[in-house]
C-alpha cells in the first residue's frame, strides 16, 4: 500500500524574494529521485503539502505550470511556523512534498472559450500556473482570448514582475495590472480591481472567469461579474482553508459535504451557492 502521508524529497534549487515587503519568497524545487519526477503529473490549480521535518507541513498552490519540466515553483507568504522556516531555508536543502493534491482548474471546460483571469495580491500563484500553461505554444490554441486583470496594493507587491513585463509585450494576451497606490516609477493603472473590471468590461459570451484574491476583492468584484452577465457556472475561484492531511481524511477543510482539499480547491460559484458559508 502506498502511504499518502509520506513526503517525497525535493531539493531547493533556487529561492527568490518576490516583493518589496520581503514577505513573499518563491522556491523552485527539483526532484531528488527520477522516479518521483516521472510519476508527478499535475494541472494548474492543484497544490502540494510542503514539509520541513521538525517544523511541520502546510499547503501551497503550485505556481509553476506543467510545461515547465523538472521543477516545481511555490510562492510562500511568511505567516507562521512552517512558512517562516520556508523563508529561511537555504538553496541546496531538502524539502518534502506531498502531491499533487486537489482538483485543479477545469481545463476541459475552458477548452475553446475565452478566459478572463482576475487576481489580487499573492493569490496570483496558481493563476500564474494557469496563464503560463496556456501561453505555451503547445497549449495556446486550447483557449481563445486571454484577458488578465491583476491588482496589488503597491507596485512592489506584484508577483512575477519580469514575467508580467514579457506578457505585456505579447499580442496573444491582454494583461491589465493595477495598484491601489502607485510610486514615482509606476506608469500603469491606479485603481481597484472591481473598478478596472467594470471599465474594461470583457464580454461574458463564451467566456469563463477565474477569480482569486483577498476576500474583500472577491466580495466587490463578484457583483461586477454578475453585472457583466457571467453565469455562476462559469465563474471559478480557488479556496483556501486550514488543512492538514490534504486527502480528505482529517476533516478540517470541509464546506458542507465537500472537502476543499480533494473536491476543491477550485469551485464554481454555482457549487458554492449551494453550500454553507463555512469559508
Amino acid at each position: 500500500m502506498k502511504n499518502p502521508y509520506l513526503p517525497i524529497p525535493m531539493i531547493l534549487k533556487k529561492a527568490q524574494t518576490e516583493t518589496s515587503d520581503r514577505l513573499l519568497r518563491t522556491l523552485e524545487l527539483s526532484f531528488k529521485n527520477k522516479e518521483d519526477e516521472k510519476s508527478f503529473h499535475f494541472i494548474p490549480g492543484q497544490f502540494c503539502e510542503l514539509s520541513i521535518l521538525g517544523k511541520g507541513e502546510a499547503p501551497f498552490g503550485i505556481a509553476s505550470s506543467p510545461i515547465e519540466k523538472g521543477s516545481l515553483k511555490f510562492t510562500i507568504n511568511k505567516a507562521g511556523v512552517v512558512t517562516t522556516a520556508l523563508h529561511h531555508i537555504e538553496e541546496g536543502s531538502e524539502i518534502g512534498i506531498r502531491g499533487p493534491l486537489g482538483n485543479g482548474y477545469p481545463i476541459d471546460l475552458f477548452a475553446g472559450k475565452d478566459l478572463l483571469v482576475i487576481g489580487g495580491g499573492f493569490a496570483f500563484t496558481t493563476l500564474r500556473s494557469l496563464i503560463a500553461y496556456y501561453l505555451h505554444p503547445e497549449n495556446r490554441t486550447k483557449v481563445k482570448q486571454i484577458t488578465v486583470i491583476y491588482g496589488a496594493r503597491m507596485p512592489g507587491l506584484l508577483l512575477y514582475r519580469d514575467e508580467l513585463l514579457e506578457w505585456e509585450k505579447r499580442n496573444d494576451i491582454k494583461l491589465v495590472t493595477t495598484v491601489d497606490w502607485g510610486d514615482k516609477d509606476w506608469k500603469g493603472r491606479v485603481g481597484l480591481v472591481p473598478n478596472v473590471l467594470e471599465e474594461i468590461a470583457p464580454s461574458s459570451e463564451n467566456t469563463c472567469a477565474v477569480i482569486c484574491g483577498p476576500p474583500i476583492m472577491i466580495k466587490f468584484t463578484f457583483p461586477k461579474l454578475v453585472a457583466l452577465r457571467f453565469p455562476n457556472e462559469r465563474i471559478f475561484t480557488s479556496l483556501e482553508k486550514r488543512m492538514k492531511c490534504g486527502i480528505g481524511k482529517c476533516g478540517r477543510c470541509n464546506i458542507g459535504h465537500l472537502y476543499v482539499c480533494k473536491d476543491g480547491p477550485v469551485f464554481s460559484y454555482a457549487q458554492l451557492e449551494k453550500l454553507p458559508k463555512d469559508y
Binding site: Y5, L53, G54, E90, K241, C250, G251, N254, D278
Partner: protein, 349 residues
C-alpha cells in the same frame, strides 16, 4: 455449528489470545474510565461495561499516533513510516455500535482515491469479536440508527453472555479460523434458545423512535435556521462529545522534534474547538459556537450521508452520557424532524 465458551475457561482463552496476538479489549483504568487497550494480563479484561467510556475506534485510530520518524530534522531527514504493525490483532468485546462505527470511519479512511494506511493496515490484520448488549442503557438508541444491541455486522465472531458461558458464533472466514479453538465447546439447543431470548429482550429495550430517517433532507433546509442559534447556547465547546464519539475521526498533524530526532504525529481533534478552523491570517470560517455545533451535527446527519448513504451516528449515547451541560442529541434530532406549521417556531430546550 453452535459453540460456547464457558466462563471458567475465559481466563485460559484470554491467555491463549495474548500469547498469539496483540489483544485489545475493554479494561477499567480507574473508576469511571473504561477504554479499549492492549491487554497484557487476562484479569485486565472487563466485559461487563455496557458502553465503555472511550470507544473501540482507538484500536484502529489511536488518540495519538506516530506516522513516521526521522533521525535528523531540517533538510536531510529521512522519514521512516510506522504503518506496519508487528502482530495480528484481536479486538474482543466491542459492542455492535462501536463495530458499526469502525466501518463508518472505514468509508472515509479506506476511500478509493487515498487509503489511510495506518487505519487500513490495523483493520486488515484485526479479527473482531463482538459482544451483544444484554442490558442496553436508557441513552442507547442504536436501533434508531440502523443497528441494534445484537447487530452482528462487522463482527468476525460474536459472543452473547448467557450467564454461565458465552454463546459463540463464527461469522466470517476470519472467525472460522477459531473453529478449532480448544476452549470452544459445542453448545446445546437450549443455549441457542437462551441466546435468542436474551437478544429479543434486549432489542425491545432500545429506543427505536428517534427520527433519523429523512433527517438528511430536513437538514438540507435548515442550514441557516435559527435552530443553530439556540442549539449552541448552552454548549461550552469542551469537545468531549467528539472525543468520545465512535464515528468522529478528525485529526491534527504536528511535528515533534527534540535534539534533531523527531516524529510526525497525529492526534484526535475536534470541530468544536475555535482553533480547529482558525487560519494563520486570523480569519476563522467558523467563528462562533453556532457554526461549530452546526458542523458537528450536520456532518453526522447531512454531510456524511450525502457522501456515504447513511448517518454517521450509531446511537451509542456517549455524547448524551458525558456532556457536562446535558445536551441531548436525541432532542435535537426530534426538534429538527418535527413538522411545524407556518409561523410556528417550536421550542428547543
Amino acid at each position: 455449528m453452535k459453540l460456547k465458551l464457558n466462563k471458567k475457561d475465559v481466563e485460559n482463552f484470554l491467555k491463549g489470545l495474548i500469547e498469539e496476538y496483540d489483544l485489545y479489549a475493554p479494561a477499567q483504568l480507574t473508576e469511571g474510565v473504561s477504554v479499549f487497550k492492549k491487554i497484557d494480563r487476562p484479569e485486565e479484561v472487563n466485559l461487563t461495561q455496557p458502553v465503555t467510556q472511550k470507544p473501540a475506534k482507538e484500536a484502529f485510530f489511536p488518540q495519538s499516533e506516530v506516522m513516521f520518524r526521522y533521525e535528523e530534522t531540517g533538510n536531510r531527514g529521512q522519514a521512516v513510516s510506522t504503518e506496519q504493525i508487528r502482530k495480528e490483532r484481536i479486538l474482543l468485546g466491542a459492542r455492535p455500535c462501536d463495530i458499526e462505527a469502525i466501518s463508518i470511519i472505514g468509508k472515509v479512511f479506506e476511500a478509493e482515491d487515498y487509503t489511510d494506511v495506518y487505519f487500513a493496515e490495523k483493520r486488515k490484520r484485526t479479527t473482531i469479536i463482538g459482544l451483544g448488549c444484554n442490558h442496553p442503557l436508557s441513552t442507547c438508541f442504536c436501533s434508531s440508527t440502523g443497528g441494534g444491541p445484537f447487530n452482528r455486522a462487522g463482527s468476525d465472531l460474536f459472543f452473547t453472555d448467557l450467564g454461565e458461558a458465552y454463546f459463540v458464533e463464527l461469522l466470517t472466514e476470519k472467525g472460522m479460523a477459531f473453529r478449532e479453538n480448544k476452549f470452544f465447546k459445542e453448545a446445546d439447543p437450549k443455549d441457542l434458545d437462551l441466546m435468542k431470548e436474551i437478544e429479543n429482550k434486549a432489542s425491545q429495550k432500545v429506543d427505536r423512535t428517534i427520527p433519523v430517517e429523512g433527517i438528511e433532507k430536513r437538514l438540507d433546509l435548515m442550514v441557516e435556521s435559527p435552530f443553530w442559534d439556540r442549539i449552541h447556547e448552552k454548549c461550552i465547546g469542551c469537545g468531549v462529545c467528539t472525543f468520545l464519539c465512535p464515528t468522529c475521526h478528525c485529526f491534527d498533524m504536528t511535528d515533534e522534534a527534540v535534539n534533531q530526532k523527531g516524529q510526525r504525529v497525529r492526534n484526535w481533534d475536534s470541530c468544536l474547538f475555535p482553533i480547529y478552523s482558525l487560519e494563520t491570517s486570523g480569519h476563522n470560517p467558523r467563528p462562533t459556537g453556532r457554526e461549530r455545533t452546526r458542523q458537528r451535527l450536520m456532518h453526522k446527519f447531512n454531510y456524511y450521508p450525502k457522501n456515504f448513504g447513511r448517518v454517521a451516528c450509531v446511537g451509542c449515547g456517549r455524547c448524551i452520557l458525558y456532556c457536562p451541560v446535558q445536551f441531548d442529541i436525541r432532542e435535537a434530532l426530534v426538534y429538527a424532524s418535527a413538522k411545524r406549521g407556518k409561523g410556528q417556531k417550536g421550542k428547543f430546550k
